[in-house]
Symmetry: C2
Subunit: 222 residues, 2 copies
């Protein structure tokens, strides 16, 4: 398999949701320019991204909505379900649990962890909560490879170390700090507070002033 | 005021939280290399970013934790509270409400909107829910300038249009699609599903294979 850029992976994730939406609307086929319009990409990008899948549409009818969604799934998803753990069951952790519950059949949050004895032993938003002391055991027993971190600031690096030592290969990091991980571990960061503070700051700037327009067209690319 | 990059704005948001953490730990002063270490920036970056504030530390003791936090607040925050509205009170919308509630004294989510009559008229996670028909009135009456969008895929552009027509100048967009906004409106995108799918994909790749290491050190920069 040739090297595929992060941006392409991100856009394929988006195209699949575009296909799911079209399927719900009863559409059977879609042209690259329609997919492009709905994704904020160019038709050319859409065609190049889809070529990565080894799938091609028909010049007259476009791409089959069902087959394209399936092809993207075969490319993005594992054959088996990938098990995910979540660490830190505060407000944000609970929010993430309820957001992702049942969203992707091939990604299952099988356990969450917290140090608070009020939470451990309970099922929170459909997910069983374990004490941090059982982190490594639960990860190993369930062959989990992915973790979502929603712990406080101060615990981030320690938790990241324990996760990677336990065999976690990918981390979705909701904490605001940079974490250091071993070679071969992939990290994606989401800092919701920073995002809102940036919006607040730039919403006060005059258009002709210091800040240039920034349209939301690099959506699929970061 | 000179032009300030988005990355600097993002890092200042992070430094403030670093200061808040140090303050909770009882620290009075911090050196740029300590702030850098906690933020995943370089000491040089930290010093340059803080120069934007017109604030400087002492060569012997570093930056005053309290004063630096205050300087960042004076730069990032408005003098008055900025009012925020949230559109779309599904799982994600509710999660966002509870995450941001009370987090920033200068940013207040004063109303949320949904079309579901089961939700409107109620107070959800501390926030009153209005029908979409009252969007413009509530925004105008409260002089809200910022919106958080957590609506379904298909409604994104229509909701974005209504928000900008009502005077919204900054949007934090949690929907997966690109939205088009008028010149002078700032948009920041967060796509949680894409982020998790990228982590899942790259967590399965071999380190020596197609994917190069990506450490989480561009944290403050995207």
């Amino acid at each position: 398999m040739e090297r595929v850029s992060e941006k392409t992976i991100g856009r394929l994730s988006l195209y699949r949701r575009v296909m799911d939406k079209l399927a719900r609307e009863g559409r059977d086929y879609a042209f690259s320019h329609e997919i492009a319009h709905m994704s904020g990409a160019t038709p050319d990008q859409v065609r190049r991204d889809i070529m990565v899948l080894g799938y091609s549409g028909s010049p007259n009818r476009g791409y089959s909505v069902g087959e394209l969604s399936k092809s993207i799934g075969e490319f993005l998803d594992d054959l088996d379900v990938q098990n995910v753990v979540l660490v830190g069951v505060g407000n944000l952790g609970r929010a993430i649990l309820s957001y992702f519950a049942g969203k992707r059949p091939k990604l299952s949050i099988i356990a969450c962890f917290d140090n608070d004895s009020e939470k451990t032993g309970r099922v929170i938003n459909g997910c069983r909560c374990y004490p941090m002391s059982q982190l490594q055991d639960v990860i190993n027993e369930n062959n989990a490879s992915i973790a979502i971190m929603a712990v406080p600031f101060s615990a981030s690096q320690e938790v990241a170390d324990r996760l990677t030592h336990s065999g976690i290969k990918g981390i979705l990091n909701f904490t605001p700090v940079s974490i250091k991980v071993p070679h071969g571990t992939y990290v994606e960061d989401i800092d919701m507070t920073m995002a809102l503070e940036k919006v607040a700051f730039y919403s006060r700037q005059k258009p002709q002033g210091q800040v240039l327009e920034r349209r939301s067209n690099d959506k699929a690319g970061h």
